[in-house]
Structures are given as structure tokens and as C-alpha cells.
């Protein structure tokens, strides 16, 4: 049963019940009031008749006539005939003996007009009886008033009431249906939206701009959906990153392993000449070295992650010289110049790690640059930080590449060919070095124009207290 069904039925039942109960109570009250006034009228009329009969009897007695039952009956008859036109029946009893109307005087017949008045005592009449005033207290006057008109009126009212029920019910049903459908529309909307979200479309939102509880619910619901979407996106991105890393690691491991295993098999099982044996041996050696490099780089990364660093004063002149010396052969091979410039004398850091940081980045820059271009290695102060910057005018990166470039095993070259460089751990190692220095790393790159990577270190004289 839907919610709006429940509301509709409950309101309908309640409303009709309330209406009926109040109408019935009003009718009952009006009936009671009518009856009271009829009863009162009957009582005063009966008193009047009793007094008149008393007066009559009194005057008859003063005239000296004896009061006989015949006389009594005739007196009663004269009154009775007068009042019968008004729907009033009278009886006169003497010491428990009915004197009017006499049992013998009228033949028994089934029609109501001539029936025994005592048997007229049905529901549609008021009956009162009281003794006459003394000295006639042995005489009892029974007064019976027909009120069938009142009953007919009441019945008419009841019929009207039932008719109103039949008309009001459906009209009410229709109005309630329209009203409740309108009021529960937001609920339907919410339900539909949550269903869509449950089916996996996390970008769906409820479009509801009302200020009531539903509006509030919709607002909170949207907030919840947003949070869920955010989480789900973050989770799936994380899973993707992880999958990519695993894929890349797999490639880095499987490629040299394939060659090593294959050439070792080749050497031991194949019927080959000396020259081919040499080739196979050389490949096994070079691929073993490749795997060894990978293993050591991974080891370096892991050591760096788990080892606290002791920061010391690093002389930039010495650092730059060391870096230039170690990179000179590669720079010369590629025909690229290295321009060194520093405006601050020292930074705060680990000299060996900073040297490998710079060497890694310079090697990347060499791969990206064309022969004849210049790579700049700069050190300067900016907003209280010591900045180490490496700037090249090489190929640059797209925004997508720049986002992932610090991921372990990320390579700009999707084929991951071994022609240029290694496993794609260089920049991730650099990031690790930056983190160990608690230094910020920033990368700016424009495709076709070049890349600049800056490391924000502490100035050596700034904060010597952190050790």
C-alpha cells in the first residue's frame, strides 16, 4: 500500500466518521428538544383538560346531580371528541376501572380509529396520566398524543443525511486525491532519484525548490549524494591509480624477465653458433642490470619512506658543482648546455638526496630537450623559501601527463620502451625526496615550450631549530 493511499484512506475515513458522528449527535439533540417541547405541551394540555373536567364535575355536583359512570363517560366523550381532531386520545379511569371509552359501547374492530385506546400505546405517541384534583382523585385521566409527524420529520432528515453522505464521500475522495498527490509529489521525486542513484548514477540530484520539510530533505539528500559521489569517484580513481601502478610494475618486471628467461633457455637448449651465444649472453647481462636497477630504485624509495632525515646546511656552490660534474658526459652526448645560477649561498637539507634529486630531474630534462638547447638550474629566495628550480625548453607535458608524472612507474611514453630511461621511478623518487624534506614541489609545463619544476626548501638561516 502506497503512502498516499494510506493518507487518503485515513483522512477519508476520519473525515466521514467525524461528519457522521457530529450530524448524528445534532440530530439526536434536536430530536430530544422536539420531544421535550411536545412532552411539555402534552403535560400542560393534559392539566388543562383535567381542570376542565374537574370544573364540569364540580358544577354538575353543585346542581345536585349524582355523578354516575354514564355521566362521567359522556363528559369524557365530549372532551374526547373535541380533542380527537388534534390527534389526542383521552381515557378516563375510575379506581382502575375504565369508564371511557367503555369496553361494551364500541365493537371491537381492527381499524385504528375505533381500536381500544389503551392499545394505541405505540412508539409514535406521548402518553400521560394523572388523577383529577380532589375530591375526584379516584378518577384518572389518561392523555395520549400522536406524534407521528415528528417521526416522519426525523426520518426525512435521516434520508437527507444518508444522501449527503453519498454525495460528499466521492467529492471528498476526489479532492483529497488531488491534494495528496500534489503534496506527496516531492516524495515520489526523492524516491525516483534515490533509485537512480542506487542503480549507480551518482551524478543525479533532486530538483526541488520548496521551503518545507521536503525541501530540507531534498537539500540534505543532495548533499549526501554529493558526498557519496565524491567518495566513489575518489575510490575509483584510487583503484585506477593502483591498477595502473600494478600494470606498470608488471611491465617493468616482465619485460626483462622474459628476455632473461628466453635467452637462458636459448643458450641451454638451442643448436646455435658462437655469435648467437654471444648475443644471448649480452642480452641476459643487460636485462639483469635493468632489473637490478629497478630493484635498487625500489629499495631506495622504500628506505627513504621509512627513514627520518637529518637536515644540514648545504653549500649550493658545492652541490651545483657535484651535479654538473656527474651530468657532464650525458649533457655533452646530447649536445645540451647546463646553466647554473644561485643567489642564495646555502639551503637546509640533505646534500646527497638533493644531488640525486637534481640529477634525476636534469636527466629527465635532457630526454625532453633538443640538442643545442639550455637547461637552467637556479637557486633563489622567494617569500622566505629557498627555491631550487630546473627549467628546460623541451617538449613539455600535457595537463594529464603533469598530473600523473609523480606517480611511481609513470612514463610519458605509453609503450614504456627501454630506449629512453628506466622504469619511471625518477620523478616519484624526487617527490619522495621533497616529502622527506617537508618541502613543496611544484611543476609548470606547457606542451612544446618546456617544463619548470620548483622545490621550496627552508633557507638555512631561517629555521635551524627543527632537527
Amino acid at each position: 500500500m502506497r503512502f498516499w493511499h494510506k493518507i487518503l484512506l485515513a483522512v477519508l475515513a476520519l473525515f466521514i466518521a467525524a461528519l457522521d458522528v457530529s450530524v448524528i449527535m445534532v440530530m439526536k439533540k434536536s430530536w430530544q428538544l422536539n420531544m421535550d417541547s411536545e412532552t411539555q405541551r402534552a403535560a400542560s394540555e393534559q392539566l388543562l383538560i383535567a381542570n376542565n373536567i374537574y370544573e364540569n364535575l364540580n358544577s354538575i355536583q353543585t346542581r345536585g346531580t349524582r355523578i354516575t359512570p354514564i355521566l362521567l363517560a359522556s363528559v369524557a366523550q365530549s372532551y374526547s371528541e373535541y380533542y380527537r381532531k388534534q390527534g389526542i386520545h383521552l381515557q378516563l379511569w375510575d379506581n382502575g376501572q375504565r369508564v371511557y371509552p367503555s369496553r361494551a359501547g364500541t365493537p371491537a374492530s381492527p381499524d385504528s380509529g375505533t381500536r381500544d385506546p389503551a392499545e394505541l400505546l405505540d412508539e409514535q405517541s406521548i402518553q400521560l396520566s394523572s388523577p383529577l384534583p380532589a375530591p375526584y382523585q379516584h378518577l384518572q385521566l389518561v392523555y395520549q398524543r400522536d406524534i407521528s409527524g415528528l417521526f416522519a420529520k426525523q426520518q426525512e432528515l435521516s434520508r437527507f443525511f444518508v444522501m449527503i453522505n453519498w454525495i460528499v464521500g466521492p467529492v471528498l475522495l476526489l479532492l483529497l486525491y488531488l491534494l495528496i498527490r500534489q503534496l506527496t509529489k516531492p516524495l515520489k521525486l526523492l524516491s525516483e532519484t534515490s533509485k537512480t542513484i542506487a542503480e549507480g548514477d551518482y551524478s543525479k540530484r533532486v530538483q526541488l525548490r520548496s521551503k518545507d520539510e521536503f525541501g530540507e530533505l531534498a537539500l540534505n539528500f543532495n548533499r549526501m549524494a554529493e558526498a557519496v559521489e565524491h567518495r566513489v569517484t575518489a575510490l575509483s580513481e584510487m583503484a585506477e591509480d593502483k591498477q595502473r601502478m600494478v600494470d606498470n610494475l608488471a611491465h617493468e618486471l616482465r619485460t626483462p624477465l622474459t628476455s632473461m628467461q628466453g635467452f637462458a633457455e636459448f643458450l641451454t637448449t638451442a643448436n646455435i653458433g658462437e655469435e648467437e651465444q654471444q648475443t644471448a649472453g649480452r642480452y641476459i647481462l643487460s636485462e639483469t642490470l635493468r632489473l637490478k636497477n629497478l630493484a635498487f630504485k625500489l629499495l631506495d624509495l622504500s628506505v627513504l619512506r621509512h627513514q627520518a632525515l637529518t637536515l644540514r646546511k648545504v653549500e649550493l656552490t658545492e652541490l651545483f658543482q657535484a651535479v654538473e660534474q656527474s651530468e657532464q658526459p650525458k649533457l655533452a652526448d646530447a649536445g645540451i648546455k647546463l646553466h647554473l645560477h644561485h643567489t642564495i649561498p646555502q639551503v637546509w637539507g640533505d646534500a646527497d638526496l638533493l644531488a640525486s634529486y637534481l640529477v634525476n630531474l636534469i636527466e629527465n630534462a635532457i630526454h625532453a630537450s633538443k640538442p643545442g638547447s639550455t637547461i637552467q638550474l637556479l637557486a633563489y629566495e622567494q617569500n622566505g623559501d629557498a627555491v631550487l628550480e630546473i627549467r628546460d625548453t623541451g617538449a613539455g607535458m600535457t595537463a594529464e601527463q603533469a598530473k600523473r608524472v609523480f606517480e611511481p612507474f609513470y612514463r610519458g611514453d605509453e609503450a614504456r620502451s627501454s630506449e629512453h630511461g628506466g622504469a619511471g621511478l625518477g620523478l616519484s623518487f624526487c617527490r619522495q625526496i621533497a616529502e622527506a624534506h617537508k618541502a613543496r614541489l611544484s611543476l609548470d609545463s606547457v606542451p612544446g615550450e618546456g617544463t619548470s619544476i620548483r622545490l621550496f626548501l627552508q633557507l638555512h638561516n631561517n629555521c635551524p631549530l627543527i632537527l
Binding site: Q243, D247, A250, T258, E265, F266, A270, I272, Y283
Partner: protein, 219 residues
């Protein structure tokens, strides 16, 4: 036996594959980048392509899509072990899928299966005075038919298809008798002796110390 195009950007692996292909008598050509494949296909149509998935510029899947109309059988070689990749490969019409690192014998076996299925496999092999006809399952020495048992013929075919490569007795059992054969490795020795005698190949089928047997044929 067959002309095979090897598309692999890692030079060591490319050389490894081609050196082994040469050993068992296939001819080959090499491509190191995705787009090179199309240039090479304009000149000659190989019987089979061994295609690496991770290639520079155009990856293996994209290459497959472009060469699909040529109907050349393709075996994908990849370092990725994901089911999604494998399904994608088969959906694009790959005939088989082999994962790095692989055993050379496994690669050769898969190549043979694909070649046989596409009927690009050669129907006979001639060496010295011996002629082996695969379809008729017949062996002629000096034009005279020689009677070989079913097992001997299977063994001979395995030796020829993996010629110049030493095969252990276990490997021979696996390849010629089938995986579930619970025989002894001595069985192999008996059959090898029979083959040598029937074909006069005492020198061709070499015993490789500590390894097994090798059919030696000039490359």
C-alpha cells in the same frame, strides 16, 4: 615453414623471438612501432603476426583494428595480466594471447596451432633423403614409404616443429603423448631409438647431455 611478422618494441624480446623462429625454420620480419606495421603490410602479407600490446605511438589493439580487414592471424603478446585486456584482445579477433614472461616452446607451440588452424602450415618437410608428409601422415626415405607407429610419427613431428631446440624427455612426453600420459621417460628413449633406426638419423637426432634430444638441421 611460415612467414611471421614480429611487432615488438623491446629489442631484446624482439631478437629473442626472431632468433627462435629462425631456428625452427620460419622466416620473419620485424617492426618496432605500431605505424611501421602498415608500411610493411603493403609490401608483403605475412602468414601470422606476433603483436605486442604496449607499442609506441599506436598500441597493439589499435593496430589490430586497422589490420582487421586483411584477415591475418594474430597472436597478442603482453605484460598485462588483466582479464579485461584478454577479452578485448579476443573481441578484436586475436587468435591467441600469450603473457610475458613466456617459454619459447610454448610460444612455438601456439604459433603451430594457429598456423595449422589457418592452414598456413607447410604440408611437408624434407631433410637429407627423408620426406615427411604431415597430412598423409606418411614418411618416405629415398622415395620408399617407411612404416611408423602413430606415436613415432607424433614424436617425429614434435622434433621437426621444434628443430634445433633441445627437448627434455618430459617435454617430449607432454607434446607427443599428451599431458595426461603417465608414461616413463624411458619410453621416449625407446621411440627415439626406433626413429633413428628407421630413418637412418643416428646423427641428426642428437642426445643432449642432461637435457634430452634435439633434431639438428642446418638453418
Amino acid at each position: 615453414m611460415a612467414n611471421i611478422l614480429v611487432v615488438e618494441d623491446e629489442r631484446p624480446i624482439s631478437d629473442l623471438i626472431t632468433m627462435n623462429l629462425k631456428l625452427v625454420g620460419h622466416t620473419y620480419s620485424k617492426a618496432y612501432r605500431g605505424p611501421d606495421v602498415f608500411d610493411m603490410l603493403e609490401h608483403e602479407k605475412p602468414d601470422l603476426i606476433l603483436l605486442d600490446v604496449m607499442l609506441p605511438e599506436l598500441n597493439g589493439f589499435e593496430v589490430m583494428q586497422r589490420i582487421a580487414p586483411l584477415q591475418i592471424p594474430v597472436i597478442l603478446i603482453t605484460a598485462k595480466n588483466s582479464l579485461a585486456d584478454r577479452i578485448k584482445g579476443f573481441e578484436l579477433g586475436a587468435d591467441d594471447y600469450i603473457m610475458k614472461p613466456f617459454e619459447i616452446l610454448e610460444l612455438l607451440a601456439r604459433i603451430n596451432v594457429v598456423l595449422r588452424r589457418s592452414e598456413k602450415s607447410t604440408s611437408s618437410f624434407i631433410c637429407d633423403t627423408v620426406e615427411v608428409r604431415y597430412l598423409e601422415r606418411q614418411v618416405l626415405v629415398d622415395q620408399t614409404p617407411v612404416d611408423l607407429t602413430v606415436r613415432e610419427f607424433e614424436l617425429l613431428e614434435v622434433l621437426i616443429r621444434n628443430r634445433n631446440i633441445a627437448l627434455s624427455r618430459e617435454k617430449l612426453l607432454e607434446l607427443a603423448w599428451g599431458y595426461d600420459f603417465a608414461g616413463e621417460s624411458r619410453t621416449v628413449d625407446v621411440h627415439i631409438r626406433q626413429l633413428r633406426k628407421k630413418l637412418g638419423w643416428e646423427d641428426r637426432i642428437k642426445t643432449v647431455f642432461k637435457l634430452g634430444y634435439r633434431l639438428e638441421v642446418q638453418v
